[in-house]
Amino acid sequence: MLTILFDGIAYGMLLFVLACGLAVTLGLMNFVNLAHGAFAMAGGYCTVILVNRWGVPFFAALPLAFLFSAAIGLVLERTLYVHVYRKPHLDQVLFTIGLVFMSVAAVDYVMGSSQVFVQLPGWLQGQFNVAGVGIGRYRLMIIVMCGALTLILQLILSRTRFGSRLRAAVDDARVARGLGINVNRVFALTFAFGSGLAGLGGALGTEIVGLDPAFPLKFMIYFLIVVTVGGTSSITGPFLASLLLGIGDVAGKYYVPTLGAFVIYTIMIVVLIWRPQGLFSRGSAR
């Protein structure tokens, strides 16, 4: 029981790191980025290549995965995404689906279609018992790391100058512009940072959720659920939503395996019907 809770929390934390970039993009620019998972996949494959082929230590590979995805995010944002911000949602959806298809096929071409794993250092494998609760070492590390990341993010958002600019831009981009905040630059940086976080999440998640070329398609819906349920106005919302989703998904798969994926889809649809205006009111009001 507690083990499931533990695994669920680890999974939820992971989802949060994967999805929080999307929450900010959606909240800030009202932009639907279905290709968010592609950045996570980039980070994951970057780690796999670094660790398995070049023998880079796992913990050295993680920041590199972050930088790699962030760099891709920054380049794509400046060259392609910029042109799509002002277009209707349908165009954004088509555009990002196109990116997803391209990334899936390209990775398939370069890396092959089979699932890949990262070779973990020995001390991260296996699990130990604390008061009868089985705790996986790797999952514990994920919780610690992602928890720390969440705290740092919260501090950045609430304490730094950049954070207050970002919050101002999310609240009302037009007024923020009027106050002399360079919203586009804030957004480009945030986009890159969010992509980087996704890449880090992808790197960390390889062990838990697996990694194959179809990753962006498989996890698209999870990211969207986190953002839908959590809202986009703060990072606490997506954080709680991620935990809820993580625990719900793990528990659902454990207790009612026949229903498995129903649980999360149903949660999503119920929430959307329950609070149709509240969840995206920010987006639709603009």
Binding site: V93, S103, A105, I269, Q277, F280
Partner: protein, 347 residues
């Protein structure tokens, strides 16, 4: 008194809009001619007809009512499985009747789920439609006893059409059948979009608030068109099952919904022929690309999507512009002759 000529003029405008254009006649003549002219291509032509019908269904809600759906495959798949189960368990063996029943069943599903897409923004709709398709796919996957799960629905045997025409392996019967269904449903759709009901949909698409301000019951109109579109998609899915005697989980795939959007974007939305023309281009392109790079053709589809959006959808579909201007000019001409009749006969 004064409202009468206005009404008559509106009616005349209406009739002019709904008039058949010569190019439309040519289009359908070519489609019918392909039965005799391209006997070796009936298999792919069948696929085109089915995809065209599916795209027509999406055009009804996207192009006319402005509902963005990313899960239209839900209805396609539901119809496909319904037709498959009807045939497999020999509940209804007459294909045409089974087709209608599948369409009706899907319409019911569309009616129930339509209430989910009434509220919220585009984004909420995208998510909800996607969610519905995922849930259905999961159901088909889990209840393997009924649907065959990941192996697909096997052992489907389709009886001869009307008890006379057997479905042959060259797809001759299948093509005639699909084309016939497509034509009938197209005529129906044409009638729908040119009716006052269709116009009210377009005004809803234009501006929901204004539409409700002039007294259009927005929600019931959207429910209706969503239900109709679901039935269309279900019939398209049922056609696929009947012509291939097989249904698999791929009918619910996200790719199918996404490809469908691409089809519609290529041909142009809000114009019934868009889906059909898009289907022809898409299938031919897919055929060509799949032969070129069997495994990686989604890459080129993705690239096409990105390019289309970056260049601009309007500019892409503007290649149909000459056709449309010609059509509207003819409309205008016929409209003027009618209104001059009105003007002379009026006072």
């Amino acid at each position: 008194m004064s409202s009468l000529p206005l009404q008559a003029e509106a009616g005349a405008r209406f009739a002019a809009r709904a008039a058949w254009h010569p190019l439309e006649v040519v289009f359908w003549a070519v489609a019918l001619g392909s039965i005799y002219l391209l006997p070796g291509r009936h298999l792919i032509l069948t696929e085109i007809a089915i995809l065209g019908l599916f795209a027509l269904s999406l055009d009804l809600i996207l192009g006319y009512a402005g509902i963005v759906s990313l899960g239209h495959a839900a209805f396609f798949g539901f119809g496909a499985y319904t037709a498959g189960l009807l045939a497999k368990h020999e509940i209804i063996t007459e294909p045409l009747l089974a087709l209608l029943v599948s369409g009706a069943a899907t319409a019911l599903l569309g009616f129930v789920t339509s209430f989910l897409v009434l509220r919220g923004s585009d984004l909420t709709r995208i998510m909800v439609t996607l969610g519905v398709a995922l849930v259905l796919r999961e159901i088909a996957n889990r209840y393997a006893g009924l649907t065959g799960g990941a192996d697909g629905l096997q052992g489907v045997e389709i009886k001869p059409l009307f008890g006379l025409f057997r479905f042959d392996m060259f797809g001759h019967t299948a093509y005639c059948y699909s084309l016939g269904v497509l034509i009938v449903l197209f005529l129906l759709a044409r009638r729908i979009v040119h009716s006052p009901f269709g116009l009210s949909l377009q005004s809803i698409k234009g501006n929901v608030l204004r539409a409700s301000a002039v007294g259009i019951p927005v929600n019931s109109r959207l429910v209706t068109i969503y239900t109709i579109a679901a039935a269309y998609a279900g019939i398209a899915g049922a056609l696929l099952t009947q012509t291939t005697a097989f249904a698999s989980l791929s009918v619910f795939d996200f790719d199918r919904s996404a490809d469908l959007l691409l089809v519609l974007i290529i041909g142009g939305t809000g114009y019934l022929y868009g889906g059909l023309i898009g289907a022809i281009i898409f299938k031919l392109m897919q055929d060509y690309l799949a032969a070129l790079t069997p495994q990686y053709w989604p890459f080129w589809i993705g690239l096409l999507l990105v390019v289309i959006v970056l260049v601009g959808r309007e500019r892409i579909s503007s290649w149909t512009h000459p056709l449309r201007t010609l059509a509207s000019r003819l409309d205008w001409r016929s409209h003027r002759t009618q209104s001059s009749v009105l003007a002379t006969g009026g006072p």
